[in-house]
Amino acid sequence: MEVLTTGTKAVVTRTANRRSEGPVRAPRQGGVRRAVWVGAFLAPAVALVAALLVVPFAVTAYRSLFDDNGITARFVGLANYRSLLTDPDFGRSLLNTVMWVVGTLVLPVLLGLLLAVLTHSVRWGAVARTAVVIPYALSGSATALLWTYLLKSDGAVNQTLSAVGLGGWQQDWLLHWPLNTVVMIVATTWQSTGAALLLFLIGLQTIPAETIEAARIDGAQGLQMFLKVIVPQLRPMTVVVVGMSIVNSLKTFDIVWLLTQGGPGTASETLALTMYRQTFTLNRYGYGAAVSVVLTAVVVAASWLYLRRQVQPQRGGAA
């Protein structure tokens, strides 16, 4: 504690001396001291991520060079990656994954944004928000059971269609590609729009009331206000929502696994399911690891492309 106090005093003196020279951008502390501070703030997060996530991933990546059945392993170099390229199922699951990325960017993100803004201007918006957020709180198994109820051949959707005289529109929703991927994206929209909605609401809180007021005085209204003022001001949160949407959709696993197990055949498989099936159903740990390395490369590339301008923070007004 003594040391800290002295340090603080030193900072005070030094910053006081520099005050006349313009805005201070960083505390002038000793390099070592600064490193210790930074280290103390960063270390827990970095250490946890490294030890429990990055290292296990590295182990898996190393495994992709082996022909490994989970019990015994034989080094095969890049053979797993070569057979990946010639696997027709791999192309299909890549295509499905792309559908998921596009679908969840269009539906939950856009709907979340619209609903966040819309429910503000409606007095009973809280009711609507609750309706949209509840599904996010439900567990995956409840969601899967529910959507099975809705989508199976004698399920609620088909029952309703025939009850209202649209029997001709009945479908085997989960049994044919690409319909099954599309309806599963809809199911995910139902579940995850609430999350996007909440994040956008937090973003809306950061917009200063003066900004809105100033725009209103300038005559901005309705759609114009939305596009010209609210959307740009929401950018930091949009980055979070879109960034997570890209990452999560590339990793889509749970809902597909619970509703179709990637089937019929391998029709609705995503990359994460291909990896899971190869690793844990077929016990080809090496091949599954190769799929996961490819998947990770895709996710890293996609999120880097999206986030690279975000990573260097544009620092407030002082920058």
Partner: protein, 432 residues
């Protein structure tokens, strides 16, 4: 913003933060180790299974076992089958493995036995043979890898057609003895807008049920050769089986392929479905879900024209882990497993048949099947799921699921061609 104000709020926040940290620390220090992964008490053997709802059955059997071998069972269930397989494989080489492991027979057993994670229990089979508990060379062969046995039979199930007795009475039909009679029931039910047969499998292993039934029913020897990799999926009997299957679909014999077996009790009770071809191991679940013993019947499906009567058999495996903490005790328990007193306790819970033909549970449907098998000396075949290398089966089952979505003759041709391509590739991989 003054320094003094700041430090005051800081100390309050620091207090809050430290009390929070303290609470978290307290919560963590009260954290527990799992009761099951602690070293088990001296007279208890741990048992891994993929079915938590069997735990009380294992405990019943364990009480009988403790009189014979001195050890009770502590079952540990992992609910998801692929997670279960993965945990068994991963834990096999660590200290966290169980003493006893539930597994599958046939090639699934060979797959892990040749990796060396299971103990040799040939002595248990010798003893069962000597005491007359189980003298079944075909069954024993499906527990064998390189001439030694690596597990004892947990149960022995037959694939039979379950049917609703009240509904059969209402339709005015009887248990079929020929394929024609069977088709007559299908047509009668269909004409009354009742689903004749519930058959799931759009996204599960259940797509292999009708395939194995029809191939084995048409030509039992061919089925044995096909699953042993000696014949082709494009050979006549296999193509014929697909034709019969496709034809049944055309007659409206089957439900939509996304039906689930857990819907069956309600469908039977409400008279919406007449029959379902399934393993007898599911009998207990059907009865627990509310079907009455008196209303549930079962029969062996008559062979299609040109075929002979034969039945598909499924048998679970009780294996001893090579790394077991109490390997000696586990081996002794495996030897005692087929003792009739243990089997009675266990099958009484399961309401399924034992590998010991003298132990039959008191359930009408199961008794009917067993009586038919014993009276007619029906030849038996290992279920498709275990009858070939696992990777081949998993892929072919997916092909069959795709066929069930589109059960046309042209799709049938594509399906057998794809299955054969995979067979050639995977048999080579298996033997390498």
């Amino acid at each position: 913003m003054g320094l003094i104000d700041l430090s005051r709020t800081t100390s309050r926040r620091a207090l809050l933060a430290s009390s929070f940290a303290g609470a978290a620390g307290l919560a963590l220090s009260s954290c527990a180790r799992g009761t099951l992964s602690r070293p088990a008490p001296a007279d208890v053997l741990s048992l891994f299974s993929d079915n938590p709802s069997w735990n009380s059955g294992f405990q019943d059997a364990g009480r009988q076992l403790s009189r014979l071998s001195g050890y009770r069972l502590a079952p540990q269930g992992v609910p998801n089958v692929s997670n279960y397989q993965q945990i068994v494989r991963m834990s096999a080489q660590t200290d966290s493995t169980a003493d006893l492991i539930k597994w599958w027979n046939g090639y699934r057993l060979r797959d892990v036995a040749r990796a060396g994670i299971l103990a040799d229990v040939t002595a248990a089979w010798d003893e069962a043979d000597r005491r007359g508990w189980c003298r079944d060379p075909a069954l024993r062969a499906s527990f064998t890898s390189d001439g030694r046995q690596y597990g004892v039979p947990l149960y022995k199930s037959y694939y039979a057609v379950f049917y609703s007795k009240p509904l059969f009475a209402r339709l005015g039909v009887d248990v079929p003895t020929t394929w024609q009679e069977f088709l007559h029931i299908v047509d009668t039910a269909h004409a009354r807008h009742i689903t004749p047969i519930a058959a799931g499998g759009a996204t599960s292993w259940e797509s292999s049920i009708w395939f194995q039934q029809l191939v084995n029913g048409l030509d039992h020897d061919f089925y044995l050769d096909l699953t042993a990799g000696k014949r082709s999926y494009t050979d006549v009997p296999c193509r014929q089986a697909m034709e019969v299957w496709s034809d049944l679909y055309r007659r409206g014999a089957f439900s939509s392929p996304d039906v689930s077996v857990s819907d069956l009790p309600g469908r039977f009770t409400q008279g919406r479905t007449a029959m379902c071809l399934y393993g007898t191991w599911n009998t207990g679940a059907l009865l627990d879900a509310g079907l009455k013993n008196a209303d549930l019947g079962a029969f062996l499906l008559p062979p299609p024209p040109g075929g002979n009567r034969s039945v598909v058999v499924e048998s679970g495996v009780l294996a001893v882990s090579a790394n077991a903490h109490k390997r000696q005790a586990a081996e002794a328990t495996a030897r005692a497993w087929l003792d009739p007193s243990v089997q009675r306790a266990w099958t009484g819970f399961l309401r399924d048949t034992s590998a010991d033909p003298s132990v039959v549970p008191d359930v009408g449907a199961v008794r009917e099947v067993v009586a038919q098998v014993q009276k007619e000396h029906v030849p038996q075949a290992v279920r498709y799921w275990e009858a070939s290398p696992p990777v081949l089966i998993e892929g072919n089952v997916q092909d069959l699921s795709a066929f069930m979505i589109d059960p046309t003759p042209s799709q049938a041709a594509k399906t057998v061609a794809s299955m054969q391509r995979r067979a050639e590739k995977e048999w080579k991989a298996w033997k390498s």
